[in-house]
């Protein structure tokens, strides 16, 4: 090979030049081929798509979240346009003043500037800095005057923004550093990764939701400002605020029908804060690891590295429901973003308007809810007294008189399963959320009070005697007893064991109720009668009957924090040591059974509907109510149970008929012209050394209807924790709820 070349080019120098030329040609060929590879086929299409994507300026318009209204169309939550005052980080951090001072100093001494050392420069800058800082101070003073927010508060807000950005910066630096270490094991340092973050180039809200007049005044300052004025860096940001118009309202309470010691002819004004908040919920900003981002992301990365947008999708910082209805109905309330696309190539502008979220109509009547919240207020300063420990609550009240009591109430429309009101005590307000710190929410006191818990659906309690109508109806249906058959109550269930399974009357007066049929047993709430039925059933059969009434399972009301209650689990895994002794206890609502107020209301509604199960709901139903399932209940049994419950409230011997006051025995229920059925319950709680957790849970469950309707239309459940006797504690509360329902037009 070498010889022909040598013959052709005898000169070595020429051969070397040829070698260099060939080398050059190879390099040129490689460059050409690589260029051909990049500029043809899929590669160029991909690059063009990337390049052209930048020729489109896409901005997104925020979605408008749907409204939440009550059953009468009153707005409970909605987005409202608002204006915020936002300032550029440069102004907040003091960098604007410094940069302006540097520029001014440079202009003054332009020619000498390069020769000055750092110290001399700083001295010159310092001379100008004061003036620019005064300009910024002037902005703060004007804002303080216009918005009536103190200068100190504004400085606090400024510091808070700066601190937040600094924290973010250090977090991002650390993350970048860690990422770089993992990705390429590059021997980098944290200082290498230090750099500005996007938030340093953005405006940050310092004052939100300003009034129109203030907005106009600030706008004038901004309009008049030139590029060198600090006002140039102030902006009025169009923002949306979620407002809850009924969150705090005043309610007038008529106390004339209260138990005599609390009654007054003077109405009482009660400020209800946080009305329905535990149910309706609030919104929050999304964080980086939010599940919504994974489930329905705003930016869709396709396989071919393409990017598409789901306008109804989520991205960090979006507003989503935090809990309650806002969270449960997130998909419906969400809506869809709008977008504005400017094609730089053609100058064409296209706009898609945002689609508002849908309106959710709740079954709740916010008027009724407000009245119940007011009735059940337990703040000693303004409470009407029903939720404070009173002398008639028990023979020996478990807590000092005047102690605030906790509890829940729920009102349900039986035919539709719609929940008209659901109150939890204690509750919390938006103000609490904003201003209370974590130590408040975590304090031992709050661990017991649990103000964030929505008790009507989330707190299970032992049912106590309120379960007895359910037991009776089942026993008659299943032939465990006939409607006329009597059981003789001698005090204890077994005379051979006089200290075990005793009737409440035996504990009180060492006597028994004597022979009782079902109706009287309900009226007198005889324990021995229902112990006997429990024993006749046996644990397994009784538990399965309870399950039919929705115990031990979620009702399906939809909210995330619903509790399934507790019912003995007889599956193999959980056999433990259950015996028929537990069935005896379950007959009177003690032992391995607990239900939430909602489950209690649901069970009573099933009883009234004679086995038809309707899923309870917080949403107003449209059209025919769907029947979830149905099972057989003897109509005769229901009749007997309802007759007993009528006697409970109407006959003197009934357990929820009258209060046991020192001076007299006034009737508990005093609303005329209604049909009323009821059952009280005093559920024992485990013995504890904590005095705050001592005392029985007091239940009352009422069924009511206007006089012209024979069948019960509404179920009202009231439970007060660790308070004393069911009828004496919860009875007057249920009575006031009936009055409230009357005022609101239900009875």
């Amino acid at each position: 090979m070498a010889n022909p070349i040598r013959k052709l080019l005898p000169s070595m120098f020429h051969r070397r030049l040829l070698l260099l030329a060939i080398g050059g040609a190879i390099v040129a060929l490689v460059l050409s081929l690589q260029m051909l590879y990049l500029t043809t086929g899929k590669q160029t299409q991909f690059f063009r798509k990337k390049l052209n994507a930048r020729l489109v300026n896409r901005s997104f318009l925020p979605t408008i979240r749907g409204r939440i209204v009550d059953r009468h169309g009153r707005v409970l939550a909605e987005d409202r346009s608002a204006y915020d005052v936002a300032m550029h980080y440069r102004l907040l951090s003091g960098r604007w003043a410094y940069r302006m001072a540097v520029r001014a100093a440079w202009r003054m001494d332009k020619t000498r500037w390069v020769e000055l050392d750092q110290h001399q420069r700083e001295q010159l800058i310092g001379q100008h800095l004061v003036g620019y800082e005064n300009q910024v101070n002037q902005v703060w003073n004007i804002l303080s005057k216009l918005t009536k927010i103190t200068r100190l508060e504004l400085m606090d807000r400024r510091n808070s923004v700066v601190r937040k950005v600094q924290h973010l910066k250090s977090y991002l630096w650390a993350r970048r550093y860690a990422k770089r270490l993992v990705k390429s094991a590059n021997p980098t340092t944290l200082a290498d990764q230090a750099g500005p973050v996007a938030e340093e180039y953005e405006h940050h809200t310092v004052i939100d939701n300003i009034e129109l007049q203030t907005r106009l005044a600030i706008q004038q300052y901004i309009d008049q400002a030139d590029r060198n004025s600090p006002w140039h860096w102030v902006r009025l940001a169009d923002s949306k605020t979620r407002v809850y118009p009924y969150e705090t309202i005043d309610v007038m309470i008529d106390r004339s029908t209260f138990p005599p010691p609390l009654a007054s002819t003077e109405p009482l004004k009660i400020k209800v804060a946080g009305l329905g908040l535990a149910l309706i919920g609030t919104t929050r900003r999304m964080w980086a690891q939010d599940s919504y981002l994974k489930d329905k992301p705003f930016v869709l990365h396709r396989k071919n590295k393409d990017i598409a947008f789901d306008l109804s999708g989520y991205r960090e910082g979006d507003v989503v429901g935090a809990w309650g209805i806002e969270k449960w109905k997130e998909k419906v309330l969400r809506g869809s973003r709008g977008q504005q696309v400017i094609e730089h190539q053609t100058g064409e502008l296209s706009r898609t308007d945002p689609i508002s979220g849908k309106t959710i109509t709740l079954s709740i009547d916010i008027g009724l809810q407000a009245r119940i919240d007011a009735i059940m207020n337990n703040e000693p300063a303004q409470s009407p007294g029903l939720m404070l420990q009173q002398p008639w609550h028990a023979k020996t009240p478990p807590h000092p008189l005047g102690t605030p009591l906790n509890g829940a109430a729920i009102v349900m429309h039986i035919p539709t399963g719609e929940i008209l009101a659901a109150t939890t005590v204690p509750s919390f307000s938006l103000d609490d959320l904003k201003h209370r710190d974590t130590s408040y929410w975590r304090s031992a006191k709050n661990k017991l009070r649990q103000p964030r818990m929505f008790r009507p659906i989330a707190m299970p309690y032992a049912p106590g005697s309120t379960i007895k109508p359910i037991v009776l109806v089942n026993a008659i249906t299943d032939g465990k007893i006939t409607s006329q058959e009597t059981i003789d109550c001698k005090g204890p269930l077994d005379l051979s064991h006089p200290t075990r399974n005793r009737c409440w009357i035996y504990k009180l007066a060492m006597i028994g109720h004597g022979p009782l049929a079902g109706e009287q047993a309900i009226m007198r709430s005889c324990n021995v009668f229902f112990y006997t039925l429990g024993r006749r059933y046996g644990l397994k059969a009784l538990a399965s009957r309870y399950r039919l009434f929705g115990l031990g399972q979620k009702t399906g009301v939809g909210l995330a924090n619903e509790h399934a209650g507790w019912l003995v689990d007889l599956s193999k895994k959980n056999r433990r040591h259950w015996s028929n002794a537990d069935a005896i206890q379950m007959g009177i609502g003690q032992g391995p059974v607990e239900w939430t107020p909602l489950q209690a209301a649901n069970a009573y509604a099933i009883l009234v509907r004679q086995g038809k199960v309707v899923t309870p709901t917080f949403e107003k139903r449209v059209g025919i109510t769907p029947i979830a399932r149905q099972f057989k209940i003897s109509s005769q049994a229901v009749k007997v149970a309802l007759a007993g419950m009528r006697d409970v409230v109407s006959k003197y011997a009934g357990t929820a008929n009258h209060l046991n006051l020192i001076k007299g025995k006034p009737k508990i229920f005093n609303l005329p012209n209604i049909n009323l059925w009821g059952k009280s319950g005093t559920a024992s709680t485990p013995k504890t050394s904590n005095p705050a957790a001592a005392g029985d849970h007091a239940w009352v469950i009422c069924l009511a209807s206007p006089k012209n309707k024979k069948r019960p239309q509404y179920v009202i459940v009231v439970v007060v924790e660790h308070a004393g006797s069911g009828g004496n504690v919860s009875g007057p509360i249920a009575n006031q709820i009936l009055h409230a329902m009357h005022i609101e037009g239900y009875l």
Partner: protein
Amino acid sequence: MSRTGQAIRTMLTPTAAWGAMFSGLALALIGILTISGSSEPAHAQQQFIWLGLALVATVLVMMIPPKAWGLIAYPLLIGTMLLLALLLLPGVPQAIVPIRNNARCWINLYFMHAQPSELAKIAFILALAWYLRFRKNYRTLSGLLVPFVIMFIPVILILKEPDLGSAMMFVPALFFMLVAAGAKLKHLIILVGLALAAVAFNIVIIYTLPDHLQILKSYQRQRIVDFIDREGDQQQTAMRLLGGGGLQGYGREQSALVLKYNYLPEDHNDMIFALIVNRWGWFGGMTVISLYATFLLSFLVVAARLKDPFSRLATVGFAGLIFCQAAINMAMPLSLLPITGITLPFVSYGGSSLLATFVMVGLVMNFAAHRPQILARPSFEYGHTNKK
């Protein structure tokens, strides 16, 4: 005949160097057109003025006969070294040596910022050619030491500025000259092998050793890592712009629009090749590559026809320097090499670079036109035996 007359006669003598001159001018005009569509369109006018000055400089260098260039080669190199040292002297005020991008590469001449490293390239090639012209000791491995030392002195000074890109360009020039001069290829292959091993070693160091044990600066390491990981913004954007041009390119207006919304740092300078392909497509890019190939070929033909060893080697050195610089620059947006701060000769914006490259063209035209009438002993002919 007066010197001017001599120069005019020299210029008008048709030689292969005219091909290089034509290529250079064509490339410079392409550069000006491209700069006019870049993010700094105002620089196009400035570049046009520089081109005029560069052509004047070309004429000026042609007035001095080649032998005189040889005689002043060493003093010129020493003078350039002094200028490079001046850049690094701690006490020099910024008014004279301004700091740009943390680098001290320029001397403020008030009408322009001159880059001594550009002058150093010329001086180095002339000095090396002068040194190698009658020797043959570089055919031994130890004999290669002196040429490398001559190269390392300016390279180290330029690296201290720091300007890795400019410093790098001395290596291909040296290799071109050594290959042409007849240095043994196996020696050169060993040296290239060692250099590649050093590069590989450095990459291993980058990925394994902590910061304080690193040889390269952090931004240089970052560029290498970005190149390997295909992450660097600048390189990725340049590749997108280049690839997006397709076969025929976007055209002037569309290209300017695309560039406006796809910001590419140094688009009128180091990254100008991406703009050329974006505007004129693969055909435009091929035109540029062809012009560089023509340029290389012209210089090599000039070298082949010359008899004077100094002129021969200097011509090959200039060819190697300019062609390799162009090839490396074009390989960056093509994602074949990591980003280093070097310009595309003739095309990129910059007075010093344009002036230096046209001075090289002028020198080669000068050499080509001054072929000695009497045939000298042929140089760099070592036959096919391995005799030294």
